[in-house]
């Protein structure tokens, strides 16, 4: 099992050289799998396939950076607590940045979804990428929902008293009480961001692992030379050592 990567060189600090049985350690196994799946050139590539040549490709990173701004503006709101934005003009401004970054987030995410659909981006063992994307969308809707419920104004009262019927109808109202501000706030600032963050990380790692989906074959009716899914291959041509493989 250790034949593929070989034993690492002894550390310069003079630590003892690794032994053959080290390879069985949980740490070593996880590290080997992680580094194998995500070598640095794949995690932070400096090359990408030539077919990635359209503005539609920027909507993934726009979605991601919007989410970062949502989190950042939310963090500033958290500094002063949930009543700050009702009492302070600066607080209202920060709340506005939180609202508009959320609008941008959904805007870019949906355009990203449309692009990925029309590229059939699930092809080539990228179904998990697609699925984690859809799940991110749904969890985002839920996260935004708990945010709207946490506003402590008329809008949150309205949304709560209206939404309770749908949620109660599923039985979830017994555990998830949209009229309970404290519960909704904690779901909004802790539980759902954690879940969303985790799913987004998996989604992005999957994109890095599989790479950007290649185009449909130029003649879509014709079968290509190599049937079946694409397995990671060595560097394409010309002796270029590149991490980004299809």
């Amino acid at each position: 099992m250790s034949a593929d990567v070989g034993t690492p060189a002894p550390l310069a600090t003079g630590a003892p050289a690794p032994l053959p049985e080290d390879a069985g350690q949980w740490t070593a196994r996880i590290r080997r799998r992680a580094v194998g799946a995500f070598p640095p050139e794949r995690l932070l590539p400096d090359r990408q396939p030539a077919y990635v040549a359209s503005w539609i490709y920027v909507f993934g990173v726009l979605t991601l950076t919007s989410l970062a701004v949502v989190a950042l503006s939310g963090a500033v709101l958290a500094l002063e607590g949930p009543s700050w934005w009702h009492q302070s003009r600066v607080g209202l401004f920060v709340n506005s940045t939180h609202l508009w970054s959320v609008e941008l987030f959904f805007f870019f995410m949906v355009v990203h979804l449309w692009g990925k659909f029309f590229m059939a981006a699930w092809r080539g063992r990228r179904r998990a990428t697609w699925i984690t994307g859809v799940v991110s969308f749904i969890v985002s809707v839920g996260t935004a929902f708990t945010g709207y419920l946490s506003q402590q104004n008329f809008d949150s009262q309205w949304i709560g008293t209206q939404a309770k019927d749908g949620i109660n109808a599923t039985g979830a109202g017994a555990f998830f009480n949209v009229l309970n501000f404290g519960q909704m706030l904690m779901w909004h600032i802790l539980l759902l961001p954690l879940v969303l963050g985790l799913i987004v990380v998996v989604h992005v790692l999957l994109v890095r692992k599989r790479g950007v989906v290649p185009p449909f074959p130029a003649k879509t009716a014709a079968a290509p030379a190599l049937a079946g899914d694409v397995a990671p291959a060595p560097a394409a041509t010309g002796g270029e050592k590149i991490g980004e493989q299809q």
């Binding site: 503005w55 209202l92 609008e103």
Partner: protein, 65 residues
């Protein structure tokens, strides 16, 4: 349009250059009813999507084989 009560009529929004606090405009087509704001958002999304697909993408330099 029913009168808004004291609670709602004073929806002036602090600090906004464009006051979106006034009563919204709503568009009706058959059973569809949509706020002007939402409609504009959707239209802009479609325009941006088409622009993203149609606009030429700068040709990247770099090693080619």
């Amino acid at each position: 349009m029913p009168m808004l009560s004291a609670d709602q009529a004073a929806s002036r929004v602090f600090g906004a250059i464009v006051n979106l606090g006034g009563p919204g405009t709503y568009l009706h087509w058959g059973f569809i009813q949509i706020s002007l704001a939402n409609f504009l958002v959707i239209v802009v999304m479609v325009v941006v999507f088409l622009a993203a697909i149609l606009l030429p993408f700068p040709h990247r330099g770099g090693p080619r084989s």
